[in-house]
Amino acid sequence: MITLGKDEIAKYPFLADAGQYLKDKGFSLQQFGTDPDLKLSVDKAFNRVLASAEGKIYKSDLIDGEASKDYVLEREVFSFLLAIVLLKLTGMVTLIKRFALAEARRAEKYLEKDLANIADESKKELAIRIIDDLFSIQIKKQNEYFIIPVSNYLTHAVNFHEREWKLINRHVENGFVFLTSHETVRLIRKELGNYINSKINNAKTPNMISGFEEPVKKLIILSKKFVTHPVVVGEYPPCIKHAIEVLEKGENLPHSGRFMLATFLLARNQTVQQIAPLFKNAPDYNEKVTLYQLNHLAGTSGSGTQYSCPSCEKLKTQNLCFAIPECNNIFNPLQFGKKGK
């Protein structure tokens, strides 16, 4: 475990042991609900959650990651811990997710600053250690760049869909990817969010505390705004249309294409019996083999694993993607035509 200084806890409060922190400071949760001075922190916590729900980053009282007075620092940490208590009491998953992401972005700013800190070597070291401890990325400094092993880079970068994160658009040399401090930290945003998210999910839900009812009620009302209803449109995406056309013409569709088509249709609740005839025109059609393979993909035979439809990214690699403007912002053919209402 990394030992943190006072101002570090304020910058990275998710690294602290919440219960222990309050105990060390000599406070109980109940006091925050009743004591008018401490109640300020609950208000701050409420605003911290509110900001995150609106996609904003909570405006901190810290200046350049440091506080002029100790109590400012404490209030900063309290508001984070109390925000978690509020979120647990509301029990709304969407709010927790938004909060975790916003907090990740807040911490990201400090991490970036610490990484690039030339004046204070210890700050840079701490940032490097946090990233290594939490996400197993070994960062080294080389001239003005931060270099990380290609394999490390890929495990994180595959979660991004913007092309700038593709390895081909990166400076790659001798097994390392070269990044700026901003990019290094950006690389772990999602995981940082997930880390904070899981920390909140694993925290114990306290019983309702007197004085917390009002903000909790407000947050529950707020979270209802974020529920979406997906609408399914019957149209097939171009990759699936293309695969069907190829088969209809009696041309050969590669194994990967057949896999895509079958898993797609299975996911759209078509039965093996409905799908099998599609392959009839394939040059190497064999009814028995086709049924066997389809049942295998559906998970009705073999290991029982149901195979899922490959992502757009994978299909691009396999030359099976024929994207049209309607494909924008989807990551899997199954999302085609599904819109939030």
Partner: protein, 270 residues
């Protein structure tokens, strides 16, 4: 195949295996890999684990397979079902096949075989005899194809060593037995990567998914000054050396890239 033919093949293979034990060896970390084999005219047997050369030779003698397979993945329990194997890691293996190079010589050593009427003809889209489109292409290797594959192998190993930092002596190259080569990279930092990450490596090797800006092509005010330096590492330098280095078409390629490179690249990468 007729029973008589199978018997003949099995006898010949058995003899061959028996006389060549000194050439037939298992790969490294054998006991962590899954083996499988196929007999003439019958299905696949898999989920086998093999300890050493002797084990393999015994399998060959007892089963006289037409093909033997070995996983590139390492498992805790290679002989259990897929779910229970417990995947540990996998070597990187690349298959370079001259079929994919679409060389002009291919027409000279390929034929089409109709799956409906078994008619054999020069390469065609529909059977000239029965008009069926269910055709299979069969081809033989040729020197030109093999030479072209060798160039691709060299390109690949350059990127593997220079860009990915894989040690040269951890890269092994084998003739595939058909029309190309298999390139194995052992013991690299990539052993534990999953399939999504491996697809990214492939896109990198294939120069896929680029943003025109990465290579100095701009939407507004394009200029040759923005192209990467020759000695830039990785694809940037490779790109510049290629476009500025090809003497005959140099000026045409460069002016094309300056005038319409941005849009062409963007279009082709979608």
């Amino acid at each position: 195949m007729q029973e008589k033919e199978i018997k003949f093949l099995e006898d010949s293979f058995k003899k061959y295996y028996f006389n060549h034990f000194d050439l037939i060896h298992v790969t490294e970390r054998t006991s962590e890999r899954e083996f499988g084999f196929q007999k003439f005219n019958s299905g696949m047997s898999r989920h086998l684990s093999i300890k050493d050369d002797k084990d393999l030779h015994l399998l060959l003698m007892q089963n006289i397979p037409s093909d033997v397979y070995c996983s590139n993945a390492y498992y805790s329990f290679p002989n259990l079902s897929m779910k229970e194997k417990d995947w540990k890691e996998a070597d990187l293996i690349f298959d370079i096949d001259s079929k994919d190079l679409h060389l002009p010589c291919r027409n000279n050593h390929s034929i089409s075989k109709c799956n409906e009427c078994n008619h054999i003809s020069n390469l065609c889209i529909k059977c000239v005899k029965c008009n069926s489109s269910k055709l299979e292409t069969k081809s033989l290797p040729c020197k030109n194809c093999i030479d072209a594959s060798k160039i691709e192998v060299k390109k690949l190993t350059t990127i593997l060593t220079e860009d990915f930092g894989i040690e040269k002596n951890n890269i092994h190259i084998y003739f595939s037995g058909n029309e190309g080569f298999h390139v194995y990279a052992y013991d690299s930092q990539f052993q534990q990567l999953g399939s999504r990450e491996r697809s990214e490596l492939v896109d990198y090797l294939m120069f896929k998914g680029i943003i025109p800006e990465t290579f100095g092509m701009k939407k507004i005010k394009p200029n040759r000054l923005f192209f990467p330096d020759f000695d830039d590492k990785g694809w940037r330098g490779r790109f510049s050396r290629e476009i500025f280095g090809s003497k005959s078409k140099r000026s045409k390629i460069i002016s094309d890239l300056i005038s319409s490179g941005y849009y062409n690249f963007q279009k082709n990468q979608r």
